[in-house]
């Protein structure tokens, strides 16, 4: 198997306070190849922070420590801010949850996509514009010439998220980090957006880190799933095996979901075991 794109070994992220230090991510290790990796967990489990750490977009107070944090052979820990800028957007890009907050409200969406391309590629305005229009078409926007001229408040949530995807994919990154890209969308729109993301990622052979709290969605959409709890990875498992997960936390999360296929009276409420905090990660059914 080829060398993974992203290698993370023993990553810690902590926030120093006046009285105590909060460890938000505590010694996690994982690799991402050219595949779709889902990261699931409840709020506060450190999943979003892990995604941001890869781009070194953590708040100033955060302290990152790791044995290894490398992307395609580049040591991200040692990389300068200048080097990071050439990586962000260009080689690793990030799709955020809500397009309402992540698009520039004062700029036409087409210009934002063009800008994303021209920042990393030395091309003329004309060519960049043509590329942006092609990209809008690739994310299944029916009338790209019209949409190009719109402002973010003039597009719907689903269209906004497709524009975000267009913007993030136009520099042809190798790794895409999607932080809850469909949580703000309706179910039917969600499906369209995921189909587009799936197609583009698979066609270009890029890697995808898909951060979500929706276990069922991740089980169907991704190739591999990391389950996080309290800053640690509880389980690293092939998505198709998720329903036979071994870790009690993964099992508890699955059991706490209301199901559509059969009626249940009372749902299981996960009980938490303090031993999980420092317990092993179960990788493909084996504790390590």
């Amino acid at each position: 198997m080829a060398k993974p794109l992203l290698e993370v070994e023993d990553l810690f992220v902590s926030f120093r306070g006046a009285h105590r230090t909060t460890q938000a991510v505590r010694g996690i290790s994982f690799n991402v190849g050219r595949e779709k990796v889902g990261i699931v967990g409840e709020s506060g489990s450190g999943k979003s922070l892990t995604g941001r750490t890869v781009l070194k977009l953590t708040p100033k107070a955060a302290h990152i420590d790791a044995k290894r944090l490398s992307f395609d052979g580049i040591d991200l820990l040692a990389a300068s801010e200048r080097q990071m800028r050439s990586i962000r957007g260009n080689r690793i890009s990030m799709i955020l949850q809500d397009p309402k907050f992540s698009l520039n409200p004062l700029m036409r969406v087409g210009q934002q996509i063009t800008e994303a391309y021209r920042l990393h590629h030395k091309v003329g305005r004309r060519e960049a514009e043509a590329r942006a229009l092609a990209m809008l078409e690739a994310v299944k926007i029916r009338d790209p010439d019209r949409v190009y001229q719109l402002f973010p408040h003039e597009v719907s949530g689903g269209m906004g998220q497709r524009i975000m995807i267009a913007m993030m994919l136009i520099p042809e990154p190798d790794l895409i980090i999607a932080d809850e890209p469909t949580s703000a969308l309706d179910v039917t729109v969600r499906r369209q957006v995921l189909t587009i993301l799936d197609e583009l990622v698979t066609r270009r052979g890029a890697g995808l880190m898909f951060i979500s709290h929706d276990l069922n969605l991740v089980a169907d959409f991704c190739d591999r799933v990391l389950v996080m709890y309290a800053g640690r990875i509880m389980e690293d498992i092939a998505a198709r095996d998720l329903r036979n997960a071994r870790h009690p936390y993964t099992r508890a999360l699955l059991d706490s979901l209301p199901r559509l296929d059969r009626a249940t009276d009372m749902l299981q409420v996960p009980s938490r075991d303090p031993a999980w905090l420092d317990g092993p990660t179960i990788r493909s059914g084996v504790a390590t």
Binding site: V189, A219, A263, L267
Partner: protein, 265 residues
């Protein structure tokens, strides 16, 4: 509390709420936008009915009109066979209460839990405030020590429990639930859904729930109304939803999209 089993058997039940030909329009003239288009439905006493649909389909607008937050509607709303006046009276609120979506926004940040719970008691002239507060706190699974907490000292799930306690403390008959778990984690969602189920049985309540999550609605409600563009396009039982028995193409699409990810064609 007498015979809460009536709803389970589906025996002849009284009507708790009947909505007929409800129309709600925003704006006027050329800019008029029909948000709710000729919606009718009834809820039997002790029943749980869910309205489901995508954002903008009008489901929350219906709840807001029912509870009296929007008086500009056409059509009739009957509660217990009496047409409710546009200007809702105190008696109506005594019997119909609402739980909102976001517990972070629906509790006053500077008021202690015991104040939040005492206020409806005071408004509706209840006696035994202290006992009632203790009772309701334990009914929603919070201890008496939670009386002295401020909302920022509570987790999301605890806040939603307080919001439910506030609605239930005056012993209403009908509870309107506007996406009560969509702001919560799955494990907390499970807690709240269990609590709502349990309270409904214990207190013989009627629920009208609005949500975009099909699994949540069918878990709590026996009957579901699928909404699209301001209309209820299809009414189905929870059984029908589970078995995927939908007549309308839109409902089928919605059902399919709700069960994980399959690439759209």
């Amino acid at each position: 509390m007498s015979a809460p089993a009536a709803n389970a058997t589906g025996a002849a039940q009284e009507t708790a709420l009947a909505v007929s030909h409800l129309n709600i329009t925003f704006g006027s003239g050329a800019a008029a936008m029909t948000a709710v288009d000729d919606v009718s439905f009834t809820l039997g006493h002790g029943e749980a009915f869910g309205l489901i649909g995508e954002s903008g389909c009008g489901k929350s607008t219906i709840l807001r009109a029912l509870v009296g937050l929007n008086r500009d509607y056409e059509g009739t709303i009957r509660f217990r066979d009496t047409v409710v006046p546009r200007q809702r009276d105190k008696n109506f609120f005594r019997r119909v209460q609402m739980v909102f979506q976001d517990p972070y926004a629906s509790l006053h940040p500077r008021k202690m839990v015991q104040y939040v719970l005492a206020e409806p008691l005071r408004i509706h002239g209840f006696d035994r405030h202290q006992e009632r507060i203790d009772e309701i706190l334990s009914a929603v699974g919070l201890g008496p020590s939670f009386r002295y907490r401020f909302p920022h000292e509570l987790s999301g799930g605890q806040r939603q429990r307080v919001a439910i306690a506030r609605a239930l403390i005056i012993e209403p008959e009908l509870l309107l639930l506007d996406e009560p778990t969509s702001a919560l984690d799955v494990s907390v969602q499970a807690e709240i859904l269990n609590l709502l189920k349990q309270l409904r049985r214990a207190r013989d309540l009627t629920y009208l729930m609005v949500s975009h999550d099909l699994a949540v609605v069918t878990h709590l409600c026996e009957r579901v109304g699928m909404m699209s563009e301001g209309r209820i396009i299809e009414e189905m039982s929870a059984e029908d939803v589970r078995a995927g028995r939908a007549a309308e193409p839109y409902t089928r699409e919605f059902l399919e999209a709700s069960t994980g990810y399959r690439p759209a064609s």
